[in-house]
């Protein structure tokens, strides 16, 4: 059994590599943009807060697959030339995931009370020292489990790039399936690989959650 998998292993693993690259760019970009989105969502300046809030609410209420579709099919009309599936998928994921990461950062930041910050200021600590030693470390520890969980979700979501023809892991399994007609073993294999990676991720998340709970900072 699994001969269709073994016979095409390097081709399939090449797909996993594409998936990994997409996930890497989606996460780095999504988290970075997410930090900015999170800051904008706690901003007191209305001209920052409102546009970003509209962006967040809009994207959080439509399916990711539509964002991937729109970007891939509408952008060429706007810019006048076609885009490769990979950069197109990367941009769609960053723009979409940033809204989720942004909400995680916002929530993490809002768990820190004004007076905790005031306590730090009242000992002469500056804004940056307070961020460096107090607010960022505390918020980061509180957010870590959600960040890992959202990263796992993002990793799984990369398979949606299938729809614009990106030859990632699932799409390559489907291409092999068209030749070999071995759906159960091929998609079974893909499922097992996804499961192992994500399961390890969720155990890591649990570990940090427990650690935070023990230190009473969650």
């Amino acid at each position: 059994m699994f001969d269709a998998v073994w016979g095409n292993l390097s081709y399939l693993m090449g797909g996993l590599w594409v998936t990994a690259k997409l996930a890497f760019f989606a996460l780095t970009g999504g988290i970075f943009l997410g930090i900015l989105v999170g800051l904008a969502r706690i901003s007191k300046r209305k001209w920052i807060y409102y546009p970003i809030t509209i962006y967040v609410n809009f994207l959080r209420n439509i399916p990711l697959i539509l964002v991937i579709f729109w970007f891939y099919f509408v952008m060429p009309i706007i810019i006048g030339r076609s885009i490769d599936p990979f950069p197109s998928a990367v941009v769609s994921f960053i723009v979409f995931e940033a809204t989720y990461f942004g909400e995680i950062f916002r929530a993490g930041y809002q768990t820190i009370s004004t007076d905790l910050v005031n306590a730090s200021y009242s000992t002469g600590m500056t804004y940056f020292k307070t961020a460096r030693y107090i607010t960022v470390p505390i918020a980061f520890r509180r957010m870590l489990p959600s960040l890992i969980t959202q990263s796992i979700v993002t990793f799984q979501d990369t398979s949606l790039a299938f729809v614009i023809g990106l030859p990632e892991f699932v799409r390559r399994a489907s291409i092999v399936d068209n030749l070999e007609v071995a759906s159960i073993q091929l998609f079974g294999f893909v499922g097992i690989v996804f499961f192992i990676i994500c399961f390890i991720g969720s155990r890591i998340s649990r570990h940090y959650e427990e650690k935070g709970r023990k230190a009473n900072i969650l």
Partner: protein
């Protein structure tokens, strides 16, 4: 010396402080009391620049808080503050809470700061809790660590914002004893508290606030035995009930 001159503050359209005037001399202990929402905590936060005010002037040792180019961070180094809910850094031990500002602001060595920290923990009576995290300390212990954290910067003034009102009754005394010692050693203190026993022991002056104004001021005896305003009489009968 802290001089508060005609200070008024608004939150949007709502006036929270109205024409506050007060002078706190070196070595004095001033107690501020009054019903909740009367502006006591807001006044303290104005004094060390945690809250802006829109009118009047606050002058600490000759430096006005709203003078151009005034360094509020530098100013706050000499005004310690203790909060109702302790506000210890939850991810640091008691000792780390105390040594953070001396090492990061004053640039003391870790060793020197730890030595100072242990001295202060000794002084507030819990040297054995140096390595405990805030979550594993009782409220009274947390508040004493918070006081030690403020004292580590060797402030010239200390402000207390209802330091005992989040504490169980049996823990109030351990915190008040530390505060009374401080006052007796000559620390200049501005305390928002309803602990009238504390006021009787050490207060040079009691200020009674209501609706964002100072409506009455005097010594403990003047205020207690002979309140001039009806509002103060009502307040006293409530807290003594």
């Amino acid at each position: 010396m802290i001089e508060i001159k005609n200070v008024s503050k608004w939150f949007d359209d709502f006036r929270v402080l109205t024409d506050i005037n007060e002078t706190i001399n070196r070595g004095q202990t001033v107690v501020i009391c009054g019903p909740s929402g009367s502006g006591k905590s807001t006044l303290l936060r104005c004094v060390n620049g945690l809250e802006p005010y829109q009118q009047g002037e606050i002058i600490v040792d000759g430096t006005s808080l709203n003078a151009p180019k005034v360094n509020l961070y530098k100013l706050r180094e000499k005004i310690g503050m203790v909060f109702q809910r302790f506000e210890l850094y939850p991810h640091m031990t008691a000792l780390q809470n105390i040594t953070l500002a001396p090492t990061k602001v004053r640039k003391w060595s870790q060793k020197r700061a730890a030595q100072k920290g242990m001295e202060l923990l000794e002084r507030v009576g819990i040297p054995d809790k140096a390595d405990a995290y805030p979550a594993n300390l009782s409220g009274g212990q947390q508040q004493r660590v918070a006081i030690a954290r403020s004292l580590a910067m060797e402030p010239e003034y200390m402000m207390f914002d209802e330091p005992t009102s989040a504490l169980d009754p049996e823990m109030i005394k351990e915190v008040l004893d530390v505060m009374i010692d401080l006052a007796r050693e000559g620390m200049t203190m501005l305390c928002v508290t309803h602990e009238m026993g504390f006021a009787r022991e050490v207060a040079d002056e009691i200020i009674f606030m209501d609706g964002g104004r100072i409506v009455e001021r005097g010594t403990y005896n003047e205020f207690f035995t002979n309140p001039k305003t009806q509002r103060a009489k009502e307040f006293l009968s409530q807290i003594l009930a």
